[in-house]
Amino acid sequence: MKIDIHTHTKRCKSGDAYTREISPEAFCETILSTEVKVIAITNHNVFDLAQFETIQSRIGRDAQVWPGVELDVYDDVAKGHLLVITSPTLAAKFSVAVDGLTKGSTPDSFKVRIPDVLATFDAMEPLYVAHYKQKRPSLSDDLLSVLEAGAKNKWCVLKEVSNAISAGIHISHGRSSIYGSDVHDWAKYAEGAHELPDLRLPIDSFEHFCLLLKKDPTAINTVLDRKTSEDLALVPFNDGKTLTIKAFNDINVIFGPKGTGKSCILRAIAKHYSKNGIDATVFESASDRIDDIFDVKGKDLSINLNPLGINYCTDEIQSLRDAGEVDVTSISKFTAYFAAANTNRNAKKILLKEIDIQEEGDAKREFLEYNEAASTTEEFLDFVKLDPSVKKELAVDELKDLNRILSVLLERLNGKEWTGFAGWKEVALLNSAIKSFRKEVERKTGSPAKPTTTGFRDYAMNRIEIAVNASKIIKSANTKIPYQEENVGDLGSGKGQLKFVTEFIFQNGNVTDGGMLSLTSVKKTAQKKFINCIREVLAHVFVDDLFQHISELNGIEDVEAIKTAHELLLFKRYFTLDGMPYSPSSGESSMVMLQKELGTDKDVYILDEPERSLGNEYINDVIVPLIKERARSGKRVFISTHDANIAVRTLPYCSIYRCHGPTGYGTFIGNPFTNNLVNIGKADDLLDWKAISMRTLEGGKEAFGERGKIYGSA
């Protein structure tokens, strides 16, 4: 939620640029294209009620529009600009007041003294925003003193500075500061809107905003209560005492000097959530463990080959290992048959036994071909009949024609399928009968029967099967698996993205890279021997010594462990920068591990001193935005830190301060909005959140000094 307390919609003074002028329609469209949800219209010495009302009714509930004016104020020695902004509920009254005050003047000629401003507007309890220092023309300290002395609500006097850095510096010096766009060209408004201040707490109205400026505890607590929170009862220390904290689905920071038990609290929080079945572990920066965290050695690495279309070859490998030679029909059976003089009269009458055996393959293949075509056609016909898209695309007649043609085709295919089946079974039955008769005649007469096969078919088919199996294994082993690359994180300072590469490769007999490791327990030597043996088997599949190679395959040490192509996999994992292998330094390792942790989708993030080994710039530019983004998504973020960049700039909903004094350890809980830290054991023991943060945190002063994007002084 962004706020812009200083905009112009009209070209009032002669020096105003034409590009300051904007229609109510374009104004609403522009504002709604940004994240600005609160905007004040502050034209020079003019308030146009009609325009304000048009804008307000057009923008509706999508943004709050506040009425205001930018006045030229002066005293005897100086002059400057002062914004006066009131509640939209008082717009009409405000309009009358502005008209009355400026009556008889033009926007160029009008000027007013501070007492008159107070007399005209102060009863409306407005927000005064004075141009200050570098924001010209600025009010002098004397003019400001008069304003602050006369205003009923002192907390509603803010100083407008030129940008976020200036606002932060003034805030650190106790001056309530803010900045607005003071738009000069509406065409460029949207592109610069991201630089406007963020409201960390959502506000409902102008009055609500003023209460938050006042640091009204009720108003602040009402806003905080809207945020989802839960009370965590923790037992973080050995004394067994329960520490109850209100944890928000937002940023919760634990800070304090070293050795005050911050890590113990984090561990207790992790334990609390884990006990309730929520994934919660304490993230600790450990740059020396990056290889373990990314599992560079692949202890838990696995890969599923199916989605890659790679055959595991389980059956093929087993078949090859079990392969044996098929015997051929002894020639002597043929010679014995022809040599024997078959004298049995009855046997001679059985002519069926003299019929030659027929091969079944052709008939079977014909049947299978038609069977498959008929099944596919039938499925397609069903699809055409039922699919709504087909019905939508085809006219009734066209659909009828398609159904008719497919039905005719199916009928013909079914006919051929049955003819094929009959033909196949006819051959099979005849062959069976021939074999039975020959066997029976041989048994009854003692004369040898004519052999039914030379044995060539079975002999050849055995070798063909071996060839097919070996080819499939080699095909799998020759498949290239694409590199798997994941973004690890930004190394900052324009260095680029660190990536983590996992390279898988099959041992195909030619892999010699010593950096590749076996993915399974199978040794690399066994993998290499295995695949080389398979290649030899394939090369000798139609050679007399084929089974010597199969014996060699079975003789490989640990061959039993190779059951699938998966056991032939090798891998290598490494980091890259700009496509080249890269070893991240310890600081870089810390950076990317923290990014990885925050990049993982979790409900609870628990970070123990995430700033360790990291530079301020990196924390500020990369880590703080990531933490805020997680918080915006409603995640619970717990951070123990010594770093002000994190503890201050994230503006945590809950700040837990741990300290140690003469009376022992103490725990204070509060937030930057009330600027209080309350002793959990003694409600009237209060500490100043800002003072403690500045004193305790590393870089505290700088963090406050450079902080922008916050209203009021924390």
Binding site: E325, D327, V328, S330, I331, S332, F334, T335, F338, A339, D356, I357, Q358, E359, G361, D362, R365, K450, P451, T452, T453, T454, G455, F456, R457, Y459, A460, M461, R463, I464, A467, V468, F542, V543, D544
Partner: protein
């Protein structure tokens, strides 16, 4: 379809079928029960099947025992060669 000629030959009273194939004859013993020699011949036939379909024809069919054996043996072998060729085609193992 290509026809490969075959003859029944004998040397020192040992009979065999000689199939004439480019690159070397294929010998199948008839009077000896030598399974390894038959297998070796079969391996050469498989290799030959890959290069194209063929049938083996006995040039001269005599009335003697070995001619009759050879004739029957080759009839069955031709039938099986055709079947094996079909299977090899299905697996994509033939060269043409």
């Amino acid at each position: 379809m290509e026809v490969l000629n075959a003859t029944v030959d004998s040397i020192d009273e040992k009979y065999f079928i000689k199939i004439k194939v480019e690159g070397g004859d294929i010998i199948i013993p008839l009077s000896d029960d030598n399974a390894n020699e038959v297998k070796s011949a079969f391996n050469k036939l498989i290799v030959r099947i890959r290069t194209g379909e063929f049938t083996i024809k006995l040039e001269k069919v005599g009335e003697d025992l070995f001619s009759m054996v050879a004739n029957e043996y080759l009839a069955q072998l031709n039938r099986e060669i055709h079947e094996v060729r079909s299977q090899m085609k299905e697996y994509g193992l033939v060269k043409s």
